[in-house]
């Protein structure tokens, strides 16, 4: 045992000495797996944070929230007595939360009132002196703990406090800034009730560790007054699945690209170490000892890269979290900001992935595999083609949609290197000896750059595919919003004023006045909205039907309603289907007579007419009016009238440009993360190229030496190699374009409809595409310059 231990120690010391002499190899290994792990753990971390967002209650107690008692659909508050009743029944984990917004002149602040008396019970508090207001002075429950990100809304540039603006007279709360508080400033429940004038009402109640019996007890207690929901089954969780799926897919792609870096390193390490390992064996080291040493080395490297990767992932996730938060809050009704915490689980995830990748890579190096390379290649190619054809015809789930993209990638990964090699072997008659040498050397050079070529192909192809997706979505959305937000003026209002409505409708400058009224509920447990714009089909002409027809009265006759496109594509409804829209105990039934485009909405949306909508007992929210003006009446003039003659708040009047801007900004936010991840993946691919060049085999160096001896100048060599590299990258780029188009098509034809339920028309920004490709080629040349120059310098130094 001792002998084996000594042997292993000696072998490991030799390996360490090897790495010291080849620092680039170890760096390549580390960078590759770390970057890949970083991406994956960043997204996994975000996903997990979203799932774990209820691990701490709103009052920041480490008591995971399992259920919420929320207002009935359409209501904003619940009666505070519900909380008191729960506690009287012994459900003492029930904690109240009251949320609302208060405003300064610079913006609004979300505040949430919680039971801060809980903090008196907690151990940390016991270390602090309790003071019940010394010397009989005023007792300060009126403190507000605010996240530092909101400082600019509450203070002037000189640091002075901006007062909050209240409808009724209120004392200003004391404000304290701190980090990681989140979107909602925290204060005591009583203070929140006071500032928001909530009259004892609550926004929701949090509950922890409920038994089945308690759940049943609560259901009885709150029946008809509130609803009990599992925190993991909220609208956010259902609606945001596709978003996180999207991010996860991107991260997987990043991991694959980054894994190529490590693949390269392992390949180079093994070939460089093969001789060393043989020598060790020759000198008397046992096979077992060598194998164990290699295993230890692998495990240690995997662990380090996983740690590095998780640290990197933590940084990336924190960098992305603001954009992701705004997307999740804006589009998916996330009610808490995600806060990124270090999670050891991610280290484990990175470690496991690295080990699996290492095993796969090592197996690929095995003699049996390399010997049967050709057969394996053709088998893989045929399988990929078969799978792709099947998926193109039958893909129906999100995973299958993603597999379409994956098989397209695999197909190109298999084909492109072969095509490149074939191109390099074309029998072209060249007279110039340098060109001749360059041509035949490219065959060998391609072998060395194989991994980098694949990495660039995958990264650029994906980037182009994403660009096409983003551009197509953007164009489709623009066109959609042009029609949907085509009213001249939008007047926001939370209530329906019949008098105002009648007066405005009869104004000479007004062509049409519509309302927007919406009820929230669900259809077959899927979150859904029911909306109406007025009585009569003229109020629905801004709706684009998928049939390209105009909305008519027939669409609403016989309990007819329109459903959004997502209902059909994602949720499986068809024309003529009867749907039951549920809100609490109220039911609204309608027959689908048509589908309309509804981009950006992940849920089901139904449209009916105003009278029928109002005749139901559904709780509804009013959002305001849309006003179409007659020719000759300007937006500015009418807006002025609304303010002066109709006493409307100018901040509630929006022209359609502003509205469209808001809508577009929200969607652009969703793609910020995609673009960031794309750039990251491209950077990894370029790094792969750079490091591949740096670690070119000694054979390449030998050939360069010979050329130098034969009188080829340094600059000629540099020029030749750069030309060679640029050529390879350029040709790879040319292949990346059809790959990008194929991926773009797959994303639009499969992923978008299946994951989100949207039909998006294919659009390409050729200029942008060209720019991306040229930039990549240009940057590749820059990346290639240093390593090649180094090799040439190294070669001349050896003499």
């Amino acid at each position: 045992m001792v002998a084996l231990y000594n042997e292993i120690k000696l072998i490991l010391a030799t390996h360490i000495a090897f790495y010291r002499r080849h620092p680039w190899l170890i760096a390549l290994f580390f960078i590759g797996f770390s970057l890949g792990s970083a991406l994956l753990t960043a997204i996994a971390g975000l996903n997990q944070e979203a799932k774990n967002r209820y691990d701490n209650s709103s009052a920041l107690i480490n008591n995971p929230v399992s259920h919420l008692i929320k207002p009935l659909a359409g209501k904003v508050y619940i009666n505070g007595n519900i909380w008191l009743k729960l506690r009287q029944k012994g459900i003492t984990t029930a904690q109240p939360v009251l949320r609302g917004r208060i405003a300064t002149s610079e913006g609004t602040l979300g505040i949430q009132g919680v039971d801060t008396l809980l903090w008196l019970n907690s151990k940390p508090y016991l270390q602090t002196e309790i003071s019940s207001g010394q010397a009989g002075g005023p007792f300060a429950l009126s403190s507000l703990l605010v996240d530092s990100q909101f400082k600019d809304r509450l203070t002037t540039t000189t640091g002075e406090r901006l007062p909050f603006i209240f409808q009724n007279e209120r004392h200003q709360p004391n404000i304290y800034f701190a980090d990681d508080i989140g979107l909602w400033a925290i204060t005591d429940l009583a203070n929140a009730d006071y500032l928001l004038d909530a009259k004892g009402q609550l926004s929701f109640i949090e509950l922890s560790n409920l038994t089945q019996q308690q759940q049943a007890q609560i259901q009885l207690l709150i029946a008809g007054r509130a609803e009990l929901i599992d925190v993991q089954q909220q609208e956010f969780d259902i609606l945001s699945q596709a978003f996180f799926f999207n991010l996860t897919a991107l991260a997987m792609l990043g991991y694959i690209v980054a894994a190529f870096l490590s693949f390269n390193a392992i390949k180079l390490t093994l070939s460089a170490r093969r001789k060393l390992l043989q020598q060790l064996h020759l000198l008397g080291c046992s096979t077992r000892g060598i194998q164990i040493s290699l295993l230890i080395e692998l495990m240690v490297l995997s662990l380090f890269t996983a740690l590095l990767g998780t640290a990197g992932g933590y940084v990336i996730a924190n960098a992305l979290v603001l954009d992701i938060n705004s997307t999740l809050v804006g589009l998916y009704q996330l009610d808490k900001a995600l806060v990124i915490n270090w999670q050891w689980f991610n280290v484990l995830l990175g470690f496991s992935l690295n080990i699996i990748s290492l095993v796969v890579i090592l197996l690929a190096q095995a003699k049996q595999i390399t010997v049967k390379g050709e057969r394996l290649f053709y088998t893989l190619l045929v399988c990929t083609c078969v799978v792709l054809i099947w998926l193109l015809n039958y893909a129906s789930t999100e995973l299958q949609a993603l597999l379409v993209c994956f098989t397209i990638l695999v197909l190109f990964i298999l084909m492109v290197p072969k095509v490149l090699s074939a191109l390099a072997c074309l029998p072209i008659h060249i007279r110039n000896p340098l060109a001749q040498w360059l041509h035949c050397d490219t065959r060998y050079y391609l072998k060395d750059l194989h991994i980098a070529v694949v990495a660039i192909l995958v990264a650029l192809g994906s980037a182009i595919g994403m660009q096409i997706m983003v551009k197509s979505f953007s164009n489709t959305l623009n066109a959609h919003l042009e029609k949907q937000l085509s009213a001249d003026i939008y007047l926001r209002s939370t209530s329906l004023d019949s008098t105002l409505r009648d007066t405005l409708s009869s104004e000479s400058g007004v062509k049409l006045l519509s309302i927007y009224m919406q009820s929230e509920g669900n259809v077959d447990q899927i979150p859904a909205k029911l909306a109406s714009f007025g009585e009569g089909s003229q109020h629905y002409q801004h709706i684009s039907l998928t049939s390209a027809k105009l909305v008519t009265e027939d669409d609403f006759s016989n309990e007819g309603c329109l459903a959004n496109e997502q209902s059909k594509i994602k949720f499986g409804f068809s024309l003529g289907n009867k749907v039951v829209f549920k809100q609490n105990a109220t039911r609204f039934t309608c027959r689908i007579t048509g589908f309309f485009y509804d981009y950006g909405n992940p849920a089901i949306s139904l449209l009916t007419q105003e009278k029928r909508h109002k005749s139901t007992a559904l709780n509804s929210d009013y959002f305001g009016y849309s006003i179409r003006l007659k020719v000759g009446t300007t937006v500015a003039a009418f807006s002025e009238r609304l303010i002066e003659d109709f006493n409307q708040d100018s901040t509630q009047i929006l022209d359609n440009k502003q509205f469209k801007r808001y809508a577009k900004t929200l969607f652009e936010d969703t793609f910020v993360v995609t673009k960031a991840l794309n750039s990251f993946i491209l950077a990894i691919a370029l790094l792969s190229l750079c490091t591949s060049l740096l670690s070119l085999s000694t054979n390449q160096l030998k050939q360069l030496t010979i050329l130098r001896h034969l009188g080829v100048t340094k600059y000629q060599l540099l020029g030749m190699k750069l030309l060679q590299t640029s050529g390879v990258v350029l040709v790879t780029t040319l292949f990346a374009i059809p790959l990008g188009f194929a991926l773009g098509y797959a994303l639009l034809a499969f992923v978008m409809p299946i994951a989100f339920g949207w039909t998006i028309h294919f659009s390409v920004d050729f200029m942008h595409l060209l720019l991306t490709c040229l930039t990549l080629v240009g940057v590749s040349v820059v990346c290639a310059y240093l390593p090649i120059r180094r090799i040439i310098k190294q070669e001349s130094q050896e003499h």
Binding site: G80, R87, L117, T128, S132, H171, A178, D188
Partner: protein, 356 residues
Amino acid sequence: MLKNRLFSVFVLCILCACQPAEQQKSKKTEMGSALQVSIGEPVKPSEILSFPQDHGIHNKQGIEWWYLTANLKTANNETFGVQWTLFRTLMPSKINSQWWDNNLYFAHFAMQSKQEHIAFERFARVGQASVTSSPFNASIDNWQLKSNENTFLPLTLSAEQEGYAVELTLAQSPLTLHGDNGYSQKTQSGHASYYYSYPFLNVTGKLTFAGNHYSVTGNAWYDREWSASLLDKQQRGWDWFSLVDSQSGDKKGLMLFCIRGDDQGYDYCSGSKISANGKVTQIPQQDITLTVINTVSLDNRDYPSKWQVQLANSEAIIIESITKDSRNQLSIEYWEGRVKATGGFNGKGYAELTGY
């Protein structure tokens, strides 16, 4: 765990006026500190207690409690101690909300058996906690002490938490007004409270201790007290005893209360001898000599575990704690546990030691 940084900023500010308090002041001075402060209006000696009103809240005074202690046993003579107290302290605020009535309510629920002692604490605001005088009901969430009928007695006490619970009926005790018709002087400087008790409550009911269920009977002592402050600034705390002799024919009771000064010596004592019908004979300060005979060390602090009480014209009474570590390790730490008395008074009761 709470985020410490957030916690230290916020909690200090929410309950402290303006300036954060010292963080490391020891708990032993907290009870004393809390009660040295004067909150609300001092009680006046001339007031006549009137019921059922005085079972309820006295808003003008800043400190008030509804305090129950009980010595219980099973048919097998297994013994238990129970303490249940609802506290109210005045905490004015400029917030006008139905979630705050300028009072902070908190309750302690403690049980002990043999040498095991456990205590629970809850904090509450108006609505969660409420006290009504008629019919009487003092509750905090699902802990409740309430009259069963329109009369004050009998009472039901129900409380439970984490495998410890009581469901007790308390009945048949005379009302005892301590001091001068309830006006009870605490210190030489004149700190006083209104203080009355129901000392001889017969108890029947059920009890759960560490998940095990028992049927119990026994005696409970119910105290009501309200004041603006109970201690001078230089006084540390008190030793309080409530003893009931239920062996010798009619029940009789003894209440002793001794305040300790900065040097932990007994500054001022007062007491009540209670006859079976609740009549009180005040024991003046000069007639009471309390001496600590034995102590027990609990976390490097010495708590008395045995006393000698010398009353005028009376055999010395030896009082000894039953569960040695009866500390309620809650937001304020104090010792509250069963005691037995021998010598000049034979009986059982409860002791409360604060400020150690």
